[in-house]
């Protein structure tokens, strides 16, 4: 399909292209694609009219929400459509049906819905209602935005005052990845690129341990949500402070998951656990940018013998993280992402996933910690937000993505896995081990 220049709304930035390469990889596995999901558990049926009105207003202010992803030459663009797709869908549990089952099946269907990326909507809003259970579910295609962006979109929908809603998306900064890249002269970019490449080569010296050793073909993505009590959450935060200090809550979760996986499958081959994670370039509490990915990648890697010693592991992860930031390695991946965006999706996906030496998968699991969400519980139109959770698709291997957030003082863990490579039973076992690690009850 050829598109006209005037129909182009936006070019994908290097971080968007990174997520698009992963979309291609997930689709190659036969799954839906690189979708992220954000769910709100509501107290009652919300004010549907207000919600619909704000979604419509949002799509008018940010037209990329209804765009089509198109390729011109090697690059990808968001382009206008003749028939913009609907963004808001309602699903009501039929009388006499099991509500919990209805909710689970509907979310499962939305997450696993397969559609060509050119025709799929960049973002969709689903309201699931029934006599007692109500969920507002956002599903977005990853090149459209990141988790912090989804949080901002939700805040937009939760802002009753129209004047305040106009502040969202301001100041218009464009892509923060490009802004950051623009701060470097060309020779500095090359220096960073080499630094990033050397760092990845160093990571690749150790073969990554995979959580699930299986040759099975993934059939569908599934997820398990585990919500800790306020007291448990407080204990986890205390443990994190004690082991990694004020600067490393995410590292504490990563370390605990490495240890839980090691305890679950001590015989899995490989030399180290390696987890990619992203840090967001947006300022905390900023109201812009709303769309697009504004992240840069980091890695946490720990050799097996270090993982087996809890004290040693957290000291190692903390030191590794400090070293990465001290050497500006965190920004070193930006020129790599820029260079990668010129490759074909297949070539880029291969580079992103495969270890240079062994050609095996570099990631032991995907990880994202959204942190503490500050959306007031009473701000959703016509309903109280009781709880939230995230979900996402992931490649196979590693077939496991772990997401975390804290809302209303409760730590929520989301285990996303591909069946039959893994199963809900295996994930339950993993969670029991993870919980003991998080609470500091495992040695």
């Amino acid at each position: 399909m050829s598109i006209k220049k005037e129909d182009i709304l936006e070019k994908l930035n290097p971080a968007d292209s990174f997520t698009l390469a992963m979309d291609e990889e997930i689709r190659k596995d036969g799954l839906a694609g690189n979708y992220g999901c954000f769910a709100l558990v509501l107290s009652n049926i919300p004010d549907i009219e207000a919600l619909q009105q704000r979604i419509t207003e949002f799509s008018q202010r940010f037209p990329v929400a209804q765009a089509s992803l198109q390729q011109i030459g090697k690059r990808f663009y968001w382009s206008k459509r003749l028939d913009p797709p609907p963004l808001f869908f309602q699903h009501h549990c039929p009388k006499g049906h099991n509500e919990a089952d209805f909710q689970q099946r509907t979310i499962d269907r939305i997450i696993n819905h397969k559609q060509a990326r050119e025709t799929a909507a960049p973002i969709e809003f689903h309201l699931l209602t029934g006599p007692t259970q109500h969920t507002f579910f956002i599903r977005w295609m990853h090149p459209f935005g990141d988790a912090r962006g989804a949080d901002l979109i939700l805040k937009y929908l939760c802002t009753a005052d129209e004047v305040q809603r106009r502040q969202f998306g301001l100041p218009e900064t464009g892509s923060l990845v490009n802004v950051r890249l623009g701060k470097y002269r060309w020779w500095q970019k090359i220096g960073l690129l080499l630094k990033g490449k050397r760092y990845i080569d160093q990571l690749d010296r150790l073969e990554s341990i995979q959580p699930f050793n299986s040759d099975l073909t993934p059939q569908r993505m599934n997820y398990t949500i585990q919500r800790l009590s306020e007291a448990q959450t407080e204990q986890v935060i205390k443990q994190a402070r004690q082991h990694v200090g004020l600067t490393g809550t995410s590292l504490y979760y990563i370390g605990c998951l490495m240890r839980a996986l090691e305890k679950m499958h001590p015989d899995n081959t490989g030399e180290a656990y390696c987890a990619p994670y992203a840090f967001n370039l947006r300022k905390q509490r900023a109201l812009a940018p709303m769309t697009g990915n504004h992240v840069c990648a980091l890695f946490a890697q720990a050799p097996r013998d270090v993982v087996q010693d809890r004290q040693k592991l957290f000291a190692h992860l903390k030191q590794q993280n400090a070293q990465v930031i001290r050497q500006q390695m965190d920004y070193a991946f930006l020129p790599l992402m820029w260079a990668g965006s010129w490759l074909s999706l297949t070539e880029y996906g291969k580079i992103l996933r495969q270890s240079h030496g062994s050609g095996k998968e570099r990631s032991s699991f995907w990880f994202s910690d959204v942190g503490r969400l500050d959306i007031p519980a009473d701000s959703f139109p016509g309903a109280e937000i009781k709880a939230v959770f995230y979900a996402c698709q992931v490649t196979t291997p590693p077939a496991l993505a772990f997401l975390s957030c804290i809302y209303r003082n409760q730590l929520t863990l989301s285990y996303n896995f591909n069946e039959p490579v893994s199963s809900p039973e295996q994930i339950d076992k993993l969670h029991q081990l993870m919980l003991a690690e998080l609470l500091g009850e495992a040695e």
Binding site: G245, L246, T247, R282, Q284, R285, I325, G371
Partner: protein, 79 residues
Amino acid sequence: MKKKLRDFIFQELVFIADPAQFSDDDDLLEAGLDSMGIMRLIMFIENEYGVTLPDTEIEPDNVQSFNALERWILRHQNG
């Protein structure tokens, strides 16, 4: 010193609609300074002021306001 710290935090780490209204005693952690931000801030301070801030002292009391940060840095500059 506080001006440089304010510029760095408000330009790089935390969005405040009106930074002028944010006092030197206001709570930076409440304002959104997170763990990654604290790490970056410490690297900035170490580069800018030539001090080494011990890991063991990275605690809320030392990073929660501009005044607390300044006291922390000065303690190490003078020591």
